[in-house]
Structure formats: C-alpha cells, structure tokens
C-alpha cells in the first residue's frame, strides 16, 4: 500500500512541477466533460418533455393547422363543451403571448389563466402569495427559471411583448412550461393582446383526463366535437405537442449529442496522443527510475496515476463547471411558447466525471505498458 502511495506521490509531484502541461490537460478534459455533461442534461430535458409517459393525463387543445401562439385562436366558450365530454377531468383556457415566436434562449412567455383554475391547481410559491396576485389585475406569478434569468423578485415589474406586469410571486413547479412562464390573469392578457380580440378568445386549452389510458380517445373526441365548428381543433398529449412545437430544438439537441460525442472522442484522442508523447519524452526519466529499482508495475503505476490525475481532476472540474453553469444560467430553449429545459440529474455528472477518469486511465494504458516493457539497457544508452 505504501509502495503504491509513494508512486502516486511521485506522480503528483511530477504533475505539480509540470504545472502548465498539467493545467492544459486538466482544462481540456474539464471542458470536454462540461460540454458532454451539458449536452446530456439538455438531451435528458428534451426526452422528459417529449417522451410519452404511461401516466400522462394532460392534453393540449390547439387551433387546427396553427403552429404558433400568435396564430392559434379558439373561443373560450369551448371550455364548457370540452368539460362535458366523457373522460375529461378538468379544462383550463389559456391565453399565451410570447416575446419571440422563434427558437430562443430568453423568451418571455405570458400564460393567462382564470383565477379559479389557478387556485384549483394549488401552485407552489417560493415567494409572494396567490392572494396578492388575485388582488392585482396586472399581477404575475413568474416561474423560478424565468425569474432567475431576468433577475425578477416579488414587487419588481416586467415588460415584454407590450405586456406590463408586476411580480406577485415566484412559482415552483416540475413542469418546465410553468418554470419558464409568467402566469397572469386571463382577462388581462386577453385585453392587452394585440391580436385575438378583447375577450372570449384563448390560445389553447389545457385538458386533464381522468384516465391516462383514455388520453388518445379523449383527444379524438375533442377534435370530433369541433370538427364542423368555426374553429376546428387539433388535440395532442402534452409531450407530443411539445415535440411538435419544439421540433427544431429537438433536432438541434440530437445534433448537439453527435457533436458532444465527437468532442469527447477528439479530446480522448488528444489526451492519448499527448500522454504517448509525454511518456516517450520521459523515457530517460523512466530508465533512471528503473535503475534506482522501480519495477515494471511501479513505472506503469506512475504513468497511470498521472492519467488518472488528469482525467479525474478534469472530470471533477468539468462536472462542477457544467452543474454550476447550467444551474446559474437557468437555460430554457423556448419555441412557439413551449419551453424545454435541461435536467440536472446528479447521475449525469457522476457518470461524466467517472468517464473522464476512465478516459485518463485508458489514454495512458498503452504508454504505461510500453514504458514498463522497454529494455532498460536500451533506454540507458540514450540516457548515460
């Protein structure tokens, strides 16, 4: 054990004295790890938002052949008719106004909902109160991530897309749509909407079904109900709605994953090449160590320990940077009023750091083996 520790100590000393090289390698591994972890978090967020779950009960009713909140307009009175359909547990009419309909990282999405419906949903607030919101006609409850992105607090005001609101509460939710929205009174948003009339028009209905197994059936029933009406509907499970609305973001996330894998492989190749060159450059040093009595395994342990140090430290730094950066940035990909946020799953960061450590060891495995197997007398011919 003490022999192993002594080799690790030697590797640490060597790495410390070769500070610039070590820092450069650790930074390279760290950046790659951070990139890979961030992409994995985004990918997980996309999966969360777009993958149909067995217990899913939420349907989104949109205007048929409309793909943007600015274009989707449905009569609010549909809510009573939808509520009467079999399998429907609740209906919430929602007016949506966004500051930017295109894909963006900083979109403000206003979601106007009736006060009674919001109270029925019992939203969880980390600051402010529902009563304060109810008492202000232009009050808003802003999602935690939107608040963090825009530096909003209770009492501050927010102006976007021609809408002025006062913040009455900070909203906590598992749903990224809520975490990245400003919930206002439906009537206020209808009144301030540039298009869509002064009232009675909403963008969509959020429908909760009583039985997840009947999700598709209820969706068909809703669309059949309004097929011949003035505003035909297109109803989809929320995950399918998000997948369609944010299809560009989903495609981008898929492309990013490929780039992420490429970056990891490129960084691994660079690390391996660097370690091979470093080991070759140090053949004289290893010859001296072996002359002093270091065994083949001892030399291998030194090289592997340096690889593990670079990989492990780079992995920890990278995972930490990714976690801190994503948590602080409050990143949300928003498109057509639909938000997708990265999911900061601790397992991703643990795996990313472990993979970086394994890459460090793997990159040095061949140099370690060759350093230990070279004939000492041949090495010393170049050393003496």
């Amino acid at each position: 054990m003490s022999a192993l520790l002594s080799r690790i100590r030697y590797a640490l000393r060597s790495a410390r004295r070769q500070g610039l090289r070590t820092v450069a390698l650790v930074a390279g591994v760290g950046l790659t790890t951070a990139l890979a972890a961030a992409i994995a978090c985004i990918d997980l967020g996309v999966r969360d938002a777009t993958t149909r779950r067995a217990d899913e009960t939420r349907l989104i009713v949109y205007r048929e052949n409309r793909f943007c909140p600015f274009a989707s307009a449905l009569p609010q009175r549909y809510d009573r008719q939808i509520a009467e359909l079999p399998g429907v547990a609740a209906v919430v009419p929602v007016k949506i106004i966004v500051s930017n309909c295109r894909a963006s990282l900083d979109v403000v999405t206003f979601r106007g909902v009736p006060e009674d419906d919001l109270r029925a949903m019992a939203p969880q607030l980390s600051a402010g109160s529902l009563d304060a919101w109810a008492s202000h006609g232009n009050g808003a409850l802003v999602g935690r991530e939107l608040a963090a992105r825009r530096g909003l607090k209770v009492g501050s005001s927010l102006t976007a897309a021609g809408i002025d609101v006062v913040i009455d509460g900070i909203l906590e939710s598992d749903d990224p749509q809520w975490r990245n929205s400003a919930l206002t009174h439906l009537a206020y948003l209808q009144e301030r909407a540039a298009r869509g009339g002064t009232g009675g028009i909403v963008t969509q209905f959020d429908v909760t079904v009583s039985d997840p197994a009947r999700l598709e059936e209820v969706a068909r029933t809703i669309d059949d109900r309004f097929r011949a009406d003035e505003s035909p509907t297109a109803t989809r499970p929320q995950t399918a709605f998000v997948a369609r609305a944010a299809s560009d973001v989903v495609a981008l996330a898929g492309f990013s994953s490929i780039i992420g894998i490429g970056a990891v492989l490129a960084a691994f190749g660079l690390l391996a090449t660097t370690m091979v060159n470093v080991t070759r450059h140090r053949s004289r040093e290893f010859a001296v160590l072996r002359t002093l009595g270091f065994t083949d395994g001892g030399i291998s342990a030194i090289v592997l320990a340096e690889g593990a140090l670079v990989g492990g430290l780079g992995g920890l730094v990278g995972a930490g940077v990714a976690w801190f950066g994503l948590a602080r940035a409050g990143l949300a990909f928003t498109m057509e009023g639909v938000s997708i946020t990265p999911r900061l799953d601790p397992a991703i960061f643990i795996v990313a750091a472990a993979v970086a450590l394994a890459a460090g060891l793997l990159a040095t495995a061949v140099p370690a083996w060759s350093a230990s197997r070279a004939r000492l007398v041949d090495l010393l011919r170049g050393a003496s």
Binding site: A3, S6, Y10, R13, R284, L292, G293, T295, G297, S384
Partner: protein, 228 residues
C-alpha cells in the same frame, strides 16, 4: 572476501546478423570494500560489465554473483528490487529527474523502501550533508552546477546504503575542479565508510584515485594493477 565474482562471463549482441562478443569469458573478482577503476578502449566492454553488475542487463552465459546473489536467477522485477537494496548507480550525465528538487531526487530510491517519513527525512538530510549540499536541498537540477548535480546524483546513489556503488564515467562531463571534488568525495566514502566502488573511466588521472585499475580489451581482462 569477494563482493563480485564473475566466472567465464559472456555477453553477446546481434548486430546486423553478426554476433558481437562484448564480454568474452571474463573472469574477475572484486573484494568487498575495494575501490576499482575499469578502463579500456571504446567497445572493450566496460559499460556492459557495469550494466551486468547492476542487473541492468543480463549475461549471455557464465556466472555472476554479486553480494552472494546469482543475478541470472532473478526475473526483471526481482532484479529491480535487488538493485534498489544493493546497488547505487551514478551516471555520466547525472540523470536527475528535472522536475524534482535535490531533496526529492535523493529521496526517490527511498520511496521503494518501507521507511517512516522521519527515517526517510533523516537519511536524505544525511546523504545531502555527506556531499556538502545540505543548503541546496530545495534547488531544482537546472538551478545547480554540473558538479553539484553530480554530487546530488551520488547522494541519491548512497542514500539506500548500498553494498556496491557503480559509476559510469562520473567525471566525464565535469571540468577538472569539479571532477577532483567528485573524486575526493569517492575517496572519502571509500576511506571512511569502506564503500565498495567500481568506476568506469577513460582518464588515467581519475583511475589513479582508485585502489586498483582493471583494464579490459575486446571483452577480456587485459591487466589488473594496483594504484601507484
């Protein structure tokens, strides 16, 4: 009593399909506590013999006993362990590890021994004092002169208290003043500690510091003479 006993020692190399007999049935004994200079023209087998004595290379045939151990019976790792306990090796070009301080270079061989940190420290300090470099312990090799580097290398070779100190042209890269200082140090080690030293040199004046000079020619023992 012999510390080193070579009997009909041979070392052959293949060079371009031709077998080169670097050592050719060499018989040689070196007493414990002796101070021997190995001389001879280039290619006579001096460094090859030194490498065999250190367990760095293996004999093609013959018998080689060092401090009672038949080196042919040891595998690579056993040889490494044996070397760390029995041999101190001094290179012509010092070969200090450039990223380690003088102290850390001297401490290096002790990392292979089961010693407490305090004992390790005591031995390193003692070794550096013995080569008059206690005040340079924190210096990196590039901050030392050639002579100082070689003295650190000697301290590194001695710190494990080996039975045998081998030196391959230890003054070959030094000016006369520093070469004399190193030779004075070898003389002191031999006289005060009874250190067994085998040193390869081309320089007659350096060889004259040893108790006896062994001359090799074409891999064979040519002459063996005591110092004048």
């Amino acid at each position: 009593m012999s510390l080193i006993d070579c009997r009909s020692l041979c070392k052959d190399y293949q060079r371009g399909g031709e077998v080169v007999h670097v050592l050719d049935h060499l018989d040689l004994s070196i007493e414990r506590g002796s101070y021997t200079a190995l001389m001879g023209p280039s290619g006579s087998g001096k460094t090859t013999l030194l490498n065999l004595l250190a367990g760095i290379d293996r004999a093609s045939s013959g018998k080689l006993l060092v401090d009672g151990t038949d080196l042919a019976q040891l595998d690579r790792n056993q040889l490494a362990g044996w070397r760390s306990r029995h041999v101190g090796y001094v290179f012509q070009l010092y070969n200090l590890v450039p990223v380690l301080s003088a102290y850390e270079n001297v401490e290096l061989p002790l990392l292979l021994h089961d010693l407490t940190a305090a004992e390790r420290h005591r031995r390193v300090v003692e070794a550096l004092e013995s080569v008059d470099l206690a005040d340079r312990h924190a210096h990196l090799p590039r901050q030392l002169s050639g002579g100082q580097e070689q003295r650190v290398a000697i301290a590194r070779a001695l710190v494990t208290q080996p039975a045998l100190l081998l030196a391959d042209e230890p003054t070959g890269d030094l000016d006369r003043t520093n070469a004399d200082a190193v030779m004075d140090l070898f003389g002191r080690l031999h006289a005060q500690r009874g250190q067994t030293i085998v040193m390869v040199t081309h320089d007659d004046s350096i060889a004259s510091r040893a108790e006896r000079t062994v001359r090799l020619e074409k891999g064979r023992l040519a002459t063996m003479e005591a110092a004048r």
